[in-house]
Symmetry: C2
Subunit: 295 residues, 2 copies
């Protein structure tokens, strides 16, 4: 029963938006006797301490993870290999290591070979977040009604997978299983490319001459405002996403730019029928998204 899930000691490796949301949720749901957290930054540890988010805070991932039966990697994915190497010798036999990273193939390649044989690795990606960062940005309902995708490699211990799934169900999420490569392709188009486009258009505005830029900010309500919100997301986290999902992002970006070139051509040549046909077609996808939300 997922409602019975309980850990002796959960270690949160990273205590930003996701880590601190998990800390709040673990307390609320009493999912562990003890919660520890690692953060590299003294300022972040201090803020986490003031917020009383966990029982112990540490600047050494190995010390934070020692004795834990569940270790959750909540730092930008580019930091995983160094962190896992540091904590591997301190991990308990039978411990479960999981993560919350937005890419999965590169994470498996970075983490799995660095873990001891007797430790389970269950890669996970909660599809939730906000544009805010840091321990004060978290809240215990962040994962409610959202999907969490697990991408366990073949041969992963089914009990470990079920424990991680149960953990996410207690967070209020629906859990799905997927292959890591397929996950990376789907997320490239639904999340990584949208973020790239948002960062890019906001960057284009940042390069406009001062007067036009001020007006773009003033009249942001026309659509631009939504993009600035997405482009306010954590820069290091997103740098690491793009560096670690290169193949899928470049593949989807190639499709996107081909399609955009075709729209650009329709605009240049005044092909109203092509524009209208495209714009009508996209409405159906919106209906599907709304229906999927309600399901």
């Amino acid at each position: 029963m997922s409602s019975d899930i309980h850990f002796r000691r959960i270690a949160l490796i990273g205590i930003g938006l996701i880590g601190s949301s998990l800390a709040r949720l673990i307390r609320r749901e009493r999912l562990a006797d003890t919660v520890t957290a690692y953060s590299r930054s003294a300022a972040t540890r201090q803020r986490a301490k003031e917020l009383d988010l966990v029982d112990h805070l540490d600047d050494d991932p190995g010390a934070a993870a020692a004795g834990a039966d569940l270790v959750v990697l909540c730092t930008p994915v580019g930091s995983y290999s160094t962190i896992v190497e540091a904590m591997a010798p301190r991990l308990d036999a039978g411990a479960i290591v999981t993560d919350v990273g937005s890419v999965k193939r590169a994470v498996i390649d970075a983490v799995a070979p660095r873990l001891p044989e007797n430790v389970h690795f269950v890669p996970a990606h909660p599809i939730s977040g906000t544009e805010y960062s840091g321990p004060e940005a978290g809240f215990d309902t962040l994962f409610e009604g959202r999907w969490c995708v697990l991408t366990p490699p073949a041969g992963t211990d089914p009990d470990a997978v079920e424990k991680v799934a149960a953990f996410w169900r207690r967070a209020g999420s629906q859990v799905d299983l997927m292959s890591p490569d397929h996950h990376d392709m789907v997320l490239a188009i639904t999340s990584h490319i949208p973020h790239l486009l948002a960062y890019n258009i906001v960057g284009t505005v940042a390069d406009l001459e001062a007067q036009t830029q001020r007006e773009a900010i003033k009249y942001a309500a026309g659509g631009f405002r939504d993009f600035t919100r997405i482009a306010a997301s954590d820069p290091v986290m997103w740098r690491d996403v793009f560096l670690n999902n290169k193949e899928a992002v470049l593949e989807m970006l190639g499709r996107f730019t081909e399609d955009l070139a075709s729209l650009q051509r329709a605009i240049r040549w005044g092909d109203g029928d092509a524009l209208e046909a495209k714009f009508v077609r996209t409405r159906a996808i919106r209906r599907d998204v709304i229906e999927a939300d309600q399901a």
Copy 2:
């Protein structure tokens, strides 16, 4: 005093999202003795009638506009020239014609030469809207707290401009004056390009094989959902925007795609510093947008 603004008869040429929002607002604020509306579509007129939005509905723009002292064009901008030609002979001397179109240079070129000498034309663009369309989609607070940009050509009667400005202030909007060409450039980057990108990425998803498309819809929370909302906007309205703001859209799209190519290159070559620098820089624009909202 703007609070004293009152018209004998307002004609709404088009009764979709914007026209029907204006109809509701005009009633609430008692801005006219009589309100008439034109719609080409019998179904739209029927729905507007059932909603009791205006005093008279007509399928002829000339009949709707006859005797009005304020005529507001609320149809897609591509229809303006035909509509204005049809109603020009029926317009009262001294009447003010205004519009709500998202582009202004092409609108002035289409409308101004077709109006009688004794009629005033004050081009306007309320920067507000939703992804919904039709007479049932409107609401009387749509324009509250938003900007309305007026782009009167040199020589426009100042009293007519002030009357239109006063009308929009009663709608709850802040009114700004701008040159039509500058308006079109600013809106290209803040509104037209964001809509084009949203339509385009949703189109890219629509071309994915069925299984991946279903998953993209399922996991839309990662960023894609915001794009589907924008891409649900009225297809004909947006077709006409792109056809009628070609120069500015192509100019801004050129800047955008150059910047995107540079980001794509940084991803391909694993240039994390370039990615992070870009993503950090865009956060400042978000702060400026939030501050502008609060101002």
